[in-house]
Subunit: 164 residues, 2 copies
């Protein structure tokens, strides 16, 4: 079996959405996905894409994806890459496809002069945590993630009562 | 006293670096900043900027900054804004300048159709945590932040022994 990693194109928008839904189901949040194929097409494949995506294929069959964008470290003064999603379909696991995807993202990061990859992992996902530790990743547990959305976001800008 | 929030320009690169250094000192990591004025100029003020920055001025004096870029939620299928740094110099605190900066970032997010602001806070920074809770922010404590850099990043791409 041969695994090929390739850059996603506009023709992959429906496939990307399938992977997003499959990952959300694994993350115990299947109902959380409101993304659409049209939105993914608009945001990822225009002149100034908000994200980038790699597709892994195993003997021509879609097996997994890595979904990423650039972030920026003010300490380092360089962009880095943030991996929003990394996912391999259950039937294709234990063949090194996840690592091959991450390796390709790392190569792209180095090409762009980035010195860091970052991502997040759910605290109960022990197999993934062990995999990342074995790779030499650090866990930044001193930092808590904060999100402002919905009514609280509208309230901050003085637009409460309106739709976001 | 009048506070004005304005977009940073290329002429602000040195000021942005001063704010980055002052924030790192507050975060107990003054030696962590290797960013340079040249790098900030190149990465933030070219045709495809990696980051954006707002400056708060109080009676014409630089008082604080917000440093942000766009991220992307695969669940929502929309970009969001990630606030990398939000900082007000000690002598200008308790006047609502931090909130005014965040409010302006939120307004920019809504203009771009973003539904979320995200950022991180150090777990010992209780005043900031209380401020964010009062605004209605959520803490995503189920997610752990992971970083791959340095030798571990080079090892992943099979370039160990070389310089990043």
């Amino acid at each position: 079996m041969e695994t090929v990693i390739r850059k996603a194109t506009a023709a992959d928008a429906a496939l990307i959405l399938e992977f997003i839904r499959a990952l959300a189901a694994f993350e115990r949040a299947p109902a959380a996905v409101t993304a659409t194929e049209e939105g993914l097409l608009r945001d990822g494949f225009g002149p100034n894409p908000f994200y980038y995506c790699l597709i892994a294929e195993d003997d021509g069959l879609p097996a997994g994806f890595a979904f990423y964008f650039f972030n920026y470290s003010t300490w380092v003064g360089r962009p880095g890459i943030y991996v929003e999603d990394l996912f391999v379909l259950p039937e294709f696991r234990r063949r090194g496809i996840g690592k091959a995807l991450l390796k390709q993202v790392a190569a792209i990061a180095l090409e762009h002069g980035c010195q860091r990859l970052q991502w997040e992992v759910l605290d109960w996902n022990t197999p993934a945590i062990d995999f990342y530790l074995a790779m030499g990743a650090e866990f930044l547990d001193e930092w808590r993630n904060v999100r402002l959305s919905g009514d609280a976001l509208l309230r901050l800008v003085g637009m409460e009562g309106q739709q976001a």
